[in-house]
C-alpha cells in the first residue's frame, strides 16, 4: 500500500506530463475546431468570417475527398494484407532452425529503420525507374515490357514502397509472438499424429490472433497518415491518383492556404483515426490488468 506521502509525491511527479500532454492535445484541437467554422484563407488575410458547418459541407462533398478517402482505404488495406500475408510465413520460416538466424533477422528488420524519404526515393529511382531501374532490367530479362510505375500504376508503386517498410514490423512482432508459443503443446500435437497443417491451424494460428490484431491496429494508425512517401514521389498525382486524406489536407493547408477547409478535413481525419484507436486502446487496456 502506498502511503499518503508517496501518493502526494506520485501525483506531483505525474502532473507535468499530464498537463503538458493535455495542453498539447487540447489547444491545437480546439483551434482546429474553431478554424473549421471560419472562412479563413492565408492568401486573403483579414477576411475571416464565421461560416458554421460550411467548410465541412464543402470538404465532404468535394470529389477530391471521396477520391482521397478511397485512396486511403486502398493504401491501408493493401499494405495490411501484404504485410500480414507475407509476414506470417516469414515469421514461421524464421522460427525454424535456421543457420545464421540472427543475421537473417538483421536483414529482414533493416527496412524499418530506413527513413521514409530515403526508401521512397531509392525505390522510385534506383528500382522503379522505367528505363534504367533494376526492375525494368529484370522485366526485360524475362521478355516483359517494363512498367512505368509512377505513371501507369502510381498507387501500386506507393503500396509496394510502404509495404516494404512495414513488412519487417509485422514479421518481427509475429516472430516474437511465435517464440513465446509453448513448444510442448506443439510436441504433444505432433505425438498424437497431428499433421503440420492442422498444428498450424489449431495451435499456431489461434496463438497469433492477438499479435495479428495488434499489428493491424498499430499499422492502421500509422498508415492512415502516410505522408512523406507521397510527398517525395508523386506529390499526390497524377491527378488525384495517389492523394490520401493526409496529403489532401496538407495541400489544402500549405499549398492552397485554405485554413478553414483544411481544418474541417483535419477533424474528419481525427474522427477516422479515433475509430481505429478505440479498438486498439481496448486491447492494450485489457493487457494492463494482467
Amino acid at each position: 500500500m502506498a502511503t499518503q506521502q508517496t501518493q502526494l509525491l506520485g501525483r506531483s511527479l505525474l502532473a507535468p506530463a499530464v498537463v503538458l500532454l493535455f495542453i498539447w492535445m487540447i489547444v491545437p484541437l480546439a483551434m482546429t475546431i474553431y478554424f473549421a467554422t471560419l472562412h479563413y484563407s492565408l492568401l486573403d488575410p483579414g477576411s475571416e468570417s464565421f461560416v458554421g458547418l460550411e467548410n465541412f459541407r464543402y470538404f465532404l462533398t468535394d470529389p477530391a475527398f471521396l477520391a482521397s478517402l478511397q485512396n486511403t482505404l486502398v493504401l491501408v488495406g493493401s499494405v495490411l494484407a501484404i504485410t500480414i500475408l507475407l509476414g506470417i510465413p516469414l515469421a514461421l520460416l524464421l522460427d525454424q532452425p535456421v543457420v545464421g538466424r540472427n543475421f537473417v533477422r538483421l536483414m529482414v528488420i533493416a527496412p524499418f529503420f530506413v527513413m521514409p524519404t530515403v526508401s521512397a526515393l531509392v525505390w522510385k529511382n534506383l528500382l522503379m525507374h522505367p528505363v534504367s531501374g533494376l526492375l525494368a532490367w529484370l522485366w526485360q530479362l524475362v521478355g516483359a515490357q517494363p512498367i512505368d510505375w509512377f505513371n501507369d500504376a502510381p498507387m501500386v508503386a506507393i503500396i509496394l514502397i510502404v509495404s516494404w517498410q512495414w513488412l519487417p514490423f509485422a514479421t518481427l512482432i509475429l516472430l516474437t509472438a511465435l517464440q513465446s508459443l509453448d513448444e510442448e503443446q506443439k510436441e504433444a500435437a505432433e505425438m498424437d499424429g497431428a499433421r503440420a497443417t492442422s498444428t498450424f491451424i489449431y495451435i499456431t494460428l489461434p496463438h497469433l490472433a492477438r499479435p495479428i490484431t495488434v499489428v493491424i491496429l498499430i499499422e492502421t494508425i500509422f498508415l492512415l497518415t502516410v505522408f512523406a512517401e507521397i510527398f517525395v514521389t508523386t506529390g499526390g498525382g497524377p491527378g488525384l491518383q495517389t492523394t490520401n486524406i493526409a496529403f489532401l489536407i496538407y495541400s489544402q493547408a500549405l499549398i492552397q492556404f485554405d485554413v478553414g477547409n483544411a481544418s474541417a478535413g483535419g477533424l474528419v481525419a481525427v474522427v477516422i483515426a479515433n475509430i481505429v484507436a478505440f479498438f486498439l486502446v481496448r486491447i492494450v487496456g485489457r493487457n494492463l490488468e494482467a
Binding site: 528488420i109 533494376l134 495488434v214 489536407i249 483515426a273 479515433n274 492494450v284
Partner: protein, 276 residues
C-alpha cells in the same frame, strides 16, 4: 525435450530464410553499392553488381554541395533533444504510476496512449500558424518541442512497462533500513531502472530521427534534419542517382546500426507492451 530436427529440414529452411532475407535487404544493399559508382555506371543498363569502377567521390560531392554535416547535426540535435526532454518529463510520471498507482492510473495511461493516435494532419494547421506567429518555423527548438510531445506517450508507456517489473519489495526493504526517498531513488531504483531508460532512449531516438511529417512541414533549410535533406533530391537535375545513394547511405547508416541493437525493445515499445 527438443524435437528431432533433420538435417534436410535445416538446409531447406536455412536456404529459404537467407533467400527471403536477402530479397528484403536488397534495396538497401543496392543503394549502398550505387553510392560507390560513377553517375554513368549508376544509370547503366545492364546494371553492374560488383565489377564497376569503385569511387568515393559521391560522398565528397554530397558533403560539398548540400552540406551533409549541417543536416546530420540538426538530426542529432532534434532527435536527441526531443528524446532527452521527453524522458526527463516521463521518468517521474512513469515512476509514480508504476510505484504509487491509484485507481485512475490505468485511465491516465490509456488516455496518454490515445493522444498518440491523433493524426498529425489533424493539428497541422494550428501548429503551423502558431509556429509562424512565434517564429518557430524552421527552428530546431520548434522541432525538438513538437517531436517531444509527439513521442511523450510512447516514452511514458515504455518506461512504465519497464518500471512495473522492478520488484516493489526491494523498496520496502530499503525503507525499513531507513533510506529516504532521495536515497531510495539514487541507490536502489536508479541502478535497476537504467537498462529500461536506455532502451527507451534508444528507440525514441530512432523514431525521432526518421520522423518525416513535422520535419518536412515545419523546416526548410536552417533547422532541416536529414529527412528534409533527402527530400531535396526529389526534384532531380541531371544524373543524380549515385549522389542520392551516397546521401541516403549517410542518412540511414547511423540509425541502422542503432536499430539493430534495439530489436527487442522495438516490439515492446511499439506495441505498448501488448506483445513481449
Amino acid at each position: 525435450m527438443a524435437r528431432m530436427v533433420t538435417n534436410k529440414r535445416v538446409v531447406v529452411s536455412t536456404a529459404a530464410a537467407w533467400l527471403f532475407g536477402f530479397l528484403i535487404f536488397f534495396p538497401i544493399l543496392w543503394m549502398i553499392l550505387t553510392s560507390f559508382k560513377t553517375e554513368l555506371d549508376a544509370f547503366a543498363i545492364p546494371p553492374s553488381f560488383l565489377f564497376f569502377h569503385w569511387t568515393t567521390e559521391n560522398y565528397a560531392t554530397v558533403q560539398e554541395r548540400s552540406d551533409y554535416f549541417h543536416h546530420a547535426i540538426n538530426s542529432i540535435i532534434i532527435a536527441g533533444g526531443s528524446t532527452l526532454v521527453a524522458t526527463l518529463i516521463a521518468v517521474p510520471a512513469a515512476w509514480s504510476m508504476a510505484f504509487a498507482p491509484t485507481k485512475r492510473t490505468k485511465d491516465i495511461l490509456l488516455w496518454m496512449l490515445s493522444t498518440k493516435m491523433m493524426p498529425p494532419v489533424g493539428v497541422l494547421v494550428p501548429i503551423y500558424l502558431i509556429y509562424r506567429d512565434v517564429g518557430l518555423l524552421d527552428s530546431r527548438v520548434g522541432l525538438v518541442l513538437i517531436l517531444c510531445f509527439g513521442n511523450l506517450p510512447i516514452v511514458i508507456w515504455m518506461l512504465f512497462t519497464y518500471f512495473k517489473e522492478i520488484p516493489k519489495d526491494i523498496l520496502e526493504a530499503a525503507r525499513m533500513d531507513g533510506a529516504t526517498i532521495g536515497r531510495e531513488l539514487i541507490y536502489v531504483l536508479a541502478p535497476m531502472a537504467v537498462p529500461g531508460i536506455a532502451s527507451t532512449l534508444l528507440l525514441n531516438f530512432i523514431l525521432a530521427w526518421n520522423e518525416a511529417f513535422w520535419t518536412l512541414n515545419l523546416s526548410t533549410s536552417q533547422a532541416a534534419p536529414l529527412t528534409v535533406f533527402i527530400a531535396s533530391y526529389s526534384s532531380p537535375e541531371g544524373l543524380f542517382w549515385a549522389k542520392l545513394s551516397a546521401a541516403s547511405t549517410l542518412a540511414i547508416a547511423p540509425i541502422l546500426v542503432l536499430g539493430w541493437f534495439s530489436q527487442k525493445q522495438l516490439v515492446r515499445g511499439l506495441t505498448f507492451g501488448a506483445v513481449k
